[in-house]
Each structure stands twice: as structure tokens, then as C-alpha cells.
Symmetry: none
DNA sequence: GATGAATGAGACTTCATTCAT
DNA sequence: TATGAATGAAGTCTCATTCAT
């Protein structure tokens, strides 16, 4: 039943099918509530085959986490355009992050929700990925500080906290964008960028951060199709990298 | 077994003991991995009594969520000192929030991690609490905007996103403070306050937000026992309401 | 809760309340599915009191069976008018039987359904009652045979079988009357009387049995309010006891 | 354990083994008192396999009822010889009925006792079967009435009652034959046939019904191996179909 | 006379996992 | 490569029954 008799596929392909199914089921049910039966059925194979290839429920979950963690970091890494200023890099990284999470909601749930919920071992897997991202953000913050000619003004531990806050805000907005109708990845990124870079204080005194020109696809920059966050093009000095 | 034979307690007391045990077990294992056996044992009663009083695993979990959600919101509500400026209120609220989560790590895990992980019904329970907090933050942001004489400058939806980001950052910092040795609630609050109010941009140009005078306990403000975040007492205008 | 605080009743009264509740619950749920909790609640007392007075679930069930079996046999015994001919006695006994079962459906279910379903010991209790009734019917049949001047024409074992059949038919009709709207006890009795006394053969050749005059309550015998079974008053010789 | 290790049987076979065991246990203990453990053990398999194949205790019970109800109706249907007169058909049907119930006492208990005792849904399952049999009997009675040239002499509702009485008597006799040493299916059938067709009145005046010639197995009809009920071959007019 | 508090035992059900083919 | 057949272990929940007051 299911997909009929699509038998005899090469191992690598079958494995990916299984992981696809597993990510979906794990993402929707959580680790414990997911059953190997359901995963095998969704993958269109028999349960013993899942065990033959992936060994155990634990290993299967770990494999899911690894694959999706790698996919997410790669997506962000690929999204960050080198050579930009710190805020430009952050902006592009956030865009990539929100794009990826929006496109892979189950994977995002696995990483953000379920992996942290169940067991130190699984949590450690994601912790590695998260640490990598936090490190990247930390580096960006430090770089920005250098750009501002302000030597190690921010103490070590403080920067770590700031990076945590930034990443946490990003995660919450990813959840929020995923749950709220009509919020695009771009809007989420812009909101976060404003929040993080300008801060509420500046936002309220009318000095929001504004995104750089988009060289990617949009041919007509003067009419933003999706209303972005910055109502006033009064760019702050720090973000005007060409200035 | 367990605590010997502390038998025949009035129902109300026993129920609280059970909830205490349940929050602990649920917080450490998650909903599904927690077993009623373990909870009953930790509570020092037999399993049937748990069912007699709390009805089912679902109901027990819901009762935990409700009790802890109420406790957290009450703590925050009680922590926010009325009559302060917007940033003063935010600061005091954050202090209370980080204090409470630091003191009740299992409850925090139940609310933030496990309740959202398992089932729409449980998620809905916390969603109510979270919405309440988000609403409070939203209100603060709007009030601050008014204080800054900038009428509805920030569009509706945008404020919602900012509140989400702020709350998300707070949640992440609560996790982080709970997991990192040597990070106090006060530090976490200060870090977040800086991040949110001043923004990275201002932080790097040397204009951090600074907390108001603490009339509560600290008699000597010039020597902060726990090194707070604000290295330079160059208060921003908005926060210096007395000025 | 429940019936408020109707406390301090004499033991005999309380016991009957408990038996009433038990018969109702047992009758509706069966022995195993009935719970002592439910019985105690319906009786308006606490569970320990039920145990204090009736000792155990088994004993409670046995007490129900005994009380209701005695009530049924007494009702039938009281209904059979002495001095009548055999068919007159059978007719009056059936009337009493169908009346009682119709008025006490739960008791009837306990005796006929549940007591026989659960355990040799309970079955033995009803078996005694049933044997008594079967013996009575057997006696009637034998008496009728004597009246017909046909000495032991029907062999011993055969009469036992006939009595079983007659009682079985009565039981089935009691169930049927209880389940079918608009079938009165009297109709059921008449149907069975016809079936048993005349037999299908005679019924179809137009010689049904007809009930004797009713001296009890009905003042106008020419207009039967409930259409009885005998459409043709062609009484058979055997039933005309006055002849 | 049990029957050693008769492992790896095709599913269809195992299912029948499980149903066999279930009918036996259910028949002896009743629905509620039967435990899945016991059934699985008697079937020689582990409990999970029972659940894998039959899904739940409810479903297992329903499967038992369906299988046995079908078996019983088929047995009766197959036993009724077409082309016979009404009484001939009734006689052959009763023979088949008593044979089947005598040979399958547990199945009979399940259908007659336990299925009606527990839950409307189970009762409905048997009700269908019983209704089918009652309808058959009703049809026979009506056919006999036509044969006797007596047009709709018996009113509609009355025939229903008669059929109920007849079926009820059959059920009681099946129980009785099953419980009484030395009562054969044939004797039970003959007793009921006499009772129903001739009626007590005729029986006592010496005009019993007599069974038709047995073309099946008995070569010597003059010496009945099992003493049948009819002592005198004085056939009644209605039963002598050839005139 | 009456009950709130408490539990040992056992029921149904599910799941991850493995043979044997 | 792939699977139908099978199970040990564990989990949630209910129930009859008893103390201690």
C-alpha cells in the first residue's frame, strides 16, 4: 500500500526518503510521540528496513538533527554575502535564516523544539549548531564595534549575552512568522534588524535602520512590493556603508 | 518508601505536593517521557491517589501549566512598579521575569519547552500567558513612543513583531542564564535592556542604556556587587525621567 | 453532595437503599462493569458504609439476587389464585410474572441476564429460584394431565423439557415485552398462554385458548380496553373449567 | 510456552486461532471478566500480536460475535430442507439449531448470554442475527397458516409474539440441553416441536405432533435409537401434509 | 453511625525492536 | 534488497478494599 511497489532503490536514495519522513513525523509529533511505524509507513518502506539503514530510533533522530542542522547552517552561510559591512552581513544572514525556516517548518521544529526537549545527547547536537551561529553573530558584533572605532568597549561576557539575545529573538520571530498568516521572511528579518541594530529607543526617536539596496531580483527598488519595515528612508550613518 | 510514612494529609496539601513533583518530573523529562509512576513516587504517594485528585496525565500537565503560568505572570506583574516610565517598567518587569525563571527552572522548562512541544491544547494554555506578556510589552512600547512625542509612528503590525522579538530574546536569555554558570538574573536583565532599548548601534557608539537607581536593597550604588552591564553612566535622555 | 446530608438512618433502611441502588446499577451495567463507587453514590452514602453493611461486592450482588428472586417468586405465588383449574392457574401466574418483570426491569435483568452470566455461585442462586418456578409449572402440567384423565401419559423427562420450554418462552417474552413499545404484560401473558396451551397447530385451525372471566377489576368484560389475543371466543373444552 | 514454539504461521490461520481462543474464554468468563492475557496465552501467541491482528478487546469480541452468529445462522439455514411443509421445515431447522449449539457451547454462551449482557453495540450485533431467525420462524408460521387455508387469521403483532415465544423456548431448551446430562439435540428438538405445534392441550389429550420420516441416515425407522418424544404415531391432520 | 484518605493489584494498550525468509 | 511475523517491556488508568478518625 501507500506508494505501491517502488521497490529496489539504491540505499542512498532510500535513506533520504526515510529521513524526509522522519523529519516530518518528528517535527509534528515530537520525539517520543513519533512512532517508527508511522515513519516507516510515510517513507513507504517496511520497518525492518528502517532499522537496517538507520539502526535505532535514537540514531534516526540524531541523523535528522545532523542533516537539518547542517542544512540550516549552510543556508545561512551561503546567504551571508562576504565583503559587506557588519550590518549588511547580519541582514543577509537573517534573510537566509528566515527563508530557510519558513520553507522547512518541520525541520525547524525538530531543531528548535524537539531536539532541545529530549535528552542531553540530542540537545548537544543542536547546541553545536547553535553555538556556531552564536559565534558568527558574536563575530559580527565585534566586527561592527571595530568598524565604529570603539575598541573592545563591550566586555567579553556582555557580547555573549547580546548574541544570545539576538539569536533568541531570531528564533522567536521564526516561530512567530511561521505561525502568523501574512508575515513574510523578509518582514521578519527587517523587524529584527531594526530591533537589534537601532533599538527601541532609536526607533522611537525616528531613526530606524534601513536595509541596503537589493541587487538580487527586485528590478524596481522604488516601489517595494512587500511593505518593508522602514517607513522613513532616513538612513543612520552606521548603516550607510557607502557613505 | 520515599519520605517514610507522612500519611493522611488534607487534600489541598497533597495536591500541591503532587503538582510540585509533577512540575519537577515534567520539567526534566518532558510530557511524554515523564511517567506517572515517577511522579507519584516523588510526591510520596501511590499512583491511584494522583489519579483520584488530578484525574489524568493530561489534566495533571494542564494543572501544572496553569499553576506555573499564573505564578510567572503574577511574579512579573508584582515586579513591575507602577508610576515608572516605560523603560523603568520594562526594566523592573525583566528583573522579576529573570528572577522567577532562575528560581523555578523546572517550571520554566515546562512552560517554555514542553508545553509548546506537545499538543495544541497544551500550547494553547501557554499561548494565553505569553499573549498576556506580549500584550504588556506591546503596551510599554506604545507608551514609550507616546512619551517620545512620536505619535503612532510605528505601525501596528510592526509593534507586534518588536514585542515578539523582545519576548523571544528574554526567553532565550532566561534559558541562557539558567544554563550558564555565573550569569545572574540582574545581568541578564541588564543585557536585554541594553539590547532592546539602545540597540547594537547605540551600544557600539557608547551610548548604552543605564538602569535607574535601586531603592530596594542596595544602599551603596557606587560599588555594584555584581558587575552590571552599563560601564558608563552616560544615561540616555529618555531614561532619565527625573532630569 | 448528592442527597445532601440525610444522615443517621436506621440500618435496615440504609441497607434497602443500598440494595435499591445496587440492583439498578447491576441491572444496567452487569456485575463486572458496575463499580462500588457508583453504587455508593447512587445510594447516597460513602463507600465504606456499603462495605460495613454488605461486606463485599460479591455479597452485595448475592443479596440483590436473593432479594429480587424472593420478590419475584412471591409475586408469582401471590398471583396464582388457588382453586382454579390448571390453565387458570397458569394464566394467573403468567399475569403476575409479566407484571412483576415489567415493573422491575432492572431486577429482571439482574436475575435473568447478569446473575447467570457471572460465576457458578451467582448462577446457583438464581437456579434455585428458577427451579422453583419450573417445578411449579411441572406440577401444573401434571395436574392438567390428570384432569384430562390421561394418566402418566407424558414421560417424566418429557414433562421437564416442556416446563423448560414454557419457562424459557416466558422469559423471552418478558424481555420482548420490556423492549417493545406498546406490548402490555397482559398481552404477553395471553400470547404465551395461547402458544403453550393451544399450540400453533390449534391456533391455525381456529381453536385458540381463551382467558377466563376477570373478576378482579374490569367491570365491563364485553369491551376489552387492551385488545387481547383471542379474537374468537370459541373456548376450547379443556379451558371451560365450569363444564 | 503452552504449545511449545509453533511459530510463524500465516496471518489468516493465526487469526482463527485467536478467535477460537477468544470464543472459549469469552464464553466461559464473559466479556469483562475475560482478560486479553488469558486469551493470548490460550491462543499460543503474545498479547501484542492479538492487538496487531484484532485491534482491541472490543473489536475482538465483535469479531467473535460476527463469526459465531454467521456460523449459527448458516448452520440453521443449511439444516432447513427446502420443499418441506412448514412443520417439516421447522423441525429440520430446530434439529440443526440444537445440534450446532450443543456442539459449540462456548459460542452459544457468547451469543446468547454475554453479547446481550454488555453494551448496546454488542447486543445490536446479535440482535441482527436473532431478528433473522425470528423472521424465518414468523415466515414459517404464516406459511403454515396459509397451508391450513386460514387466511390472515392471526393478527400481525400476534405472530411476532408467537415467534418470540418459540425462539425463546428454543434458546431455553438449548441452555437446558447443554446443562443437562443425557438430553440429546434430537430430543430437545422433538420436545420443542411438540410443545410448539401441538400445544400442551393437545399433548394431554393424546394428539402429539410426530416427526416426519427421516430419509437422512436412519434406515430402520421402527426402532428409534434415541427414544423420541412421540409415543403414538397418531399424526395430526395438519402435519400430514400428503393428506 | 459515617467518612475522607489511601493503596495493591491488575486491566488494556502501545512501542521499539528482532527473527526467518 | 526487503519484509511478514512476532514479542518483552512499559505505560496509563481503574477498581475493590481498608485505615484512622
Amino acid at each position: 500500500m501507500g506508494a505501491g511497489k517502488t521497490k529496489r532503490m539504491p540505499r542512498a536514495v532510500r535513506e533520504q526518503q526515510m529521513l524526509d519522513a522522519a523529519v516530518r513525523i518528528f517535527g509534528q509529533r515530537g520525539y517520543m510521540a513519533a512512532s517508527m511505524d508511522e515513519i516507516a509507513e510515510l517513507a513507504g518502506v517496511s520497518k525492518p528496513l528502517v532499522y537496517l539503514y538507520l539502526n535505532s530510533k535514537d540514531d534516526l533522530f540524531t541523523a535528522c538533527i545532523r542533516r537539518e542542522a547542517r542544512a540550516l547552517t549552510e543556508a545561512v552561510r551561503a546567504g551571508v554575502l562576504p565583503g559587506l559591512s557588519a550590518d549588511g552581513q547580519l541582514w543577509s544572514g537573517l534573510r537566509a535564516f528566515f527563508d530557510h525556516t519558513a520553507r522547512n517548518p518541520d525541520a525547524w521544529r525538530v531543531l528548535h523544539l524537539h531536539a532541545r526537549t529530549h535528552g542531553e545527547l540530542f540537545a548537544a547536537e543542536v547546541a553545536v549548531m547553535r553555538a556556531e551561529i552564536v559565534a558568527f553573530v558574536t563575530h559580527l558584533i565585534a566586527a561592527a564595534a571595530r568598524d565604529a572605532h570603539r575598541d573592545p568597549h563591550l566586555p567579553e561576557g556582555e557580547v555573549a549575552g547580546l548574541a544570545e539575545a539576538l539569536v533568541g529573538a531570531a528564533e522567536a520571530l521564526a516561530d512567530w512568522a511561521g505561525a502568523t498568516e501574512g508575515v513574510t521572511a523578509k518582514q521578519a528579518a527587517a523587524t529584527l534588524m531594526n530591533f537589534a541594530w537601532a533599538g527601541l529607543g532609536d526607533l522611537m526617536t525616528g531613526r530606524p535602520w534601513s536595509p541596503p539596496e537589493e541587487p538580487e531580483a527586485a528590478p524596481a527598488p522604488e516601489t517595494a512590493p512587500e511593505a518593508t519595515t522602514a517607513p522613513e528612508p532616513v538612513a543612520r550613518a552606521a548603516s550607510a556603508q557607502a557613505g
